[in-house]
Amino acid sequence: MKTAPLTFRRTSLAVKFGLMVMAGTSLVFAAAFIYNHALSRRSILRNAEINASNLAGATVGRIEAVLNGVEKIPCYMALCLEQRTWAREDLTAFISNGLAANPDIFGSTVAFEPYTFDPHSRFFAPYCYHQGTDIRQIWLGSDQYQYFNWDWYILPKELQRSVWSEPFFDEGGGNILMTTYSVPFYRLLNGQRQFQGIVTADIALDWLVNMVASVSYLKTGYAFLISQSGVFVTHPDKRLIMRQSIFDVAEGANDAHLRQVGQAMVHGDTGFVRLESPFFGKPAWLYYAPLKSPGWSLGVLFPEDELFADAQRMGRNILLIGLAGFVILFLIIVLISATVTRPIRALARTTADIARGNLDIKLPLVKSHDEVGELSFAFDNMRVALKEYIAGLTEATAARERLESELKIARTIQMSFLPKHFPPFPEQAEFDLFARLEPAKQVGGDLYDFFLLDDQHLFFSIGDVSDKGVPAALFMAVTKTLMKGIAMQGGLDPASVLEHVNLELCKENDSLMFVTVFCALLNFRTGELVYSNAGHNPPLIRRADGQPEELPLPKGIILGAIEEARYTTASLTLHADDMLVLYTDGVTEAMNPSQDLYSLERLRETVNGVSDQNPKTIVDAIFQSVTTYAAGAPQSDDITVLALHYNGTSSPIR
């Protein structure tokens, strides 16, 4: 048996299964991870906003508490100034005392409109300020410093309300960051409220700077403060303070979004926004809230990566744990699969052996009652069935070969006993003879024979053994040999020849075989034909001027049936161009595919249809006609035809 070698190397089922499960779980894990990550990001962001808002709120509260405290002093002073007219000394003492009671305030002035306090003096603005532990006093106002043209004076005057000034550096007083709270005060003159001047309180903002600087968020997050105009009041980067505004930064970074944010801050809004890169060089989040009274805005700024650092670290850890889990999971699956598929692999190895023809191999025992067990069981059944089938097939093949070889032997026996040289007697001009036997596949045991008994007698015969195969062929051979032997010993009477042959055949005929025989003796000098028959089909005779007719036959039983059988001889005379056609029932009983018989009628028509006098022509015509009629239907019996044409007695008797 030829089988393809099992050389293809494939990924094992276990690994394949593991990979598939891994792919599935990875997808689920990845989806869960991404969802969780997004969720935690959102939650972190919300927490950050709350924290930052708390932080900013607290800082704003603290700053405003201080500022509100500061605001009260000049407001109180303005109120006092409006109540009565003050003497110069009283006023300076009033300012100086107020300053002494409020160390938070760096300096304070009461600046009057020109010529209001003193109709002769254009400037009247005593300014007291802390100098170490002392309180000093100077007079503001000169041609160089016309205070009533400065913002701290004009703005509250015009707006008619208290105003916090933009922060500024006090260059005279120690170069510290200051801001001024200016409160306008009025007097009722002639029932009219008339502007008198401005009370101010300068406060140093170093505490503010420190307070805001102390605010930190996450690792590098910080707080900063911008003024009404967006200028940085506090910022960890000192270079920005009082020099640049948030809009300058936006301009420098060409960041429109930051500009909008700056506007919102200056406008006094509250918000939580993501900024691209202007402060940290990387994305950051900003929470901002206003300081109501001075109109400033506090921002809490922190880089995004710090915000998500924990989440990212956690995500990385989860990923690592997941990865390790996957590796372990994969190993477990491979292990389990390998256990499950072990019997299959064993089965595959065994099957390869079976394929090579080793059907006695024992299949690996699979005890489990699962699919693998079933498969193994089915394989074993298949192996046994295959073994039986092959054994059966071998036997059948041997039997068929034996039968075929027997049939070949039978055919050889049959054919080797037949005379096959035509024309058989070329020197005899009185007759022409031709015979042909076509054995069926199973060999029917037909026979024909002809030989000269002397210089004027031709003995010829045709027969059919009632069995098939080797026994029939042997029986045919025996019959033919007996008949020839007996006829050669002076058998000029066909009936007597048949009786002798019958007697011999009946002896020891245990196999119950019979043979039909028609035999005849032709005196070709005279044309006299004597013949006898043992159960054979009547031959056809076609007279020179007539239709083919069945030869009238004497009764005679088949040879080999009963010892006492008696046969009789009949006779007739052949004339020139008479034709005798002897045949076996293989001709008339040949069948077409619909199992109709060829029949005697068709044989007669065929014989009648051939005008040629050559016996070979007529024999060939009959075979041709039968073959055409059978149209491929298998030949079930031997077909034999012997034709004899009598040429007449024209030649002289020797």
């Binding site: 029917g444 059919d464 009632s466 069995d467 119950l512 019979f514 039909t516 043992a534 159960g535 054979h536 089909n537 009547p538 036959l553 009764k555 005679g556 039983i557 088949i558 049936a561 009963i562 059988a565 029932d585 009983e589 018989l597 079930s636 019996d637």
Partner: protein, 110 residues
């Protein structure tokens, strides 16, 4: 060919339908051997519906008859007619068997 088997004591009656040619002999002999082996000894062959018999068919009947005789049984033929009867006569088989016109007549003689 079809063979109808009927038992009418003391004989087995086999009725043959259709063509009795070489192809049918195996079946015919198998049925006969079966009944012989079962102990039956008397047979009637009803050939009324047999449309054709070949020499192989004749030989099969003859061989069977010989076997029956060896075992001291007998076989008779009934209702043979037409072409089939002619075949029996020409082949000389007519001399070897007893023929009866009807099944009933045959049954009386077995």
């Amino acid at each position: 060919m079809q063979i109808i088997i009927a038992k009418k004591a003391p004989a087995i009656i086999l009725s043959i339908y259709g063509h009795f040619n070489a192809a049918a002999t195996a079946e015919f002999e198998r049925i006969f051997n079966q009944h012989l082996d079962a102990g039956e000894r008397h047979f009637v062959l009803n050939l009324a519906e047999m449309t054709f018999i070949s020499s192989a068919g004749l030989c099969s009947i003859l061989a069977t008859a010989k076997k029956i005789k060896e075992r001291d049984g007998n076989i008779v033929i009934c209702a043979l007619q037409g072409e089939a009867l002619k075949v029996f006569e020409i082949s000389g088989f007519a001399a070897l068997f007893s023929f009866y016109p009807t099944e009933a007549a045959a049954l009386k003689q077995v």
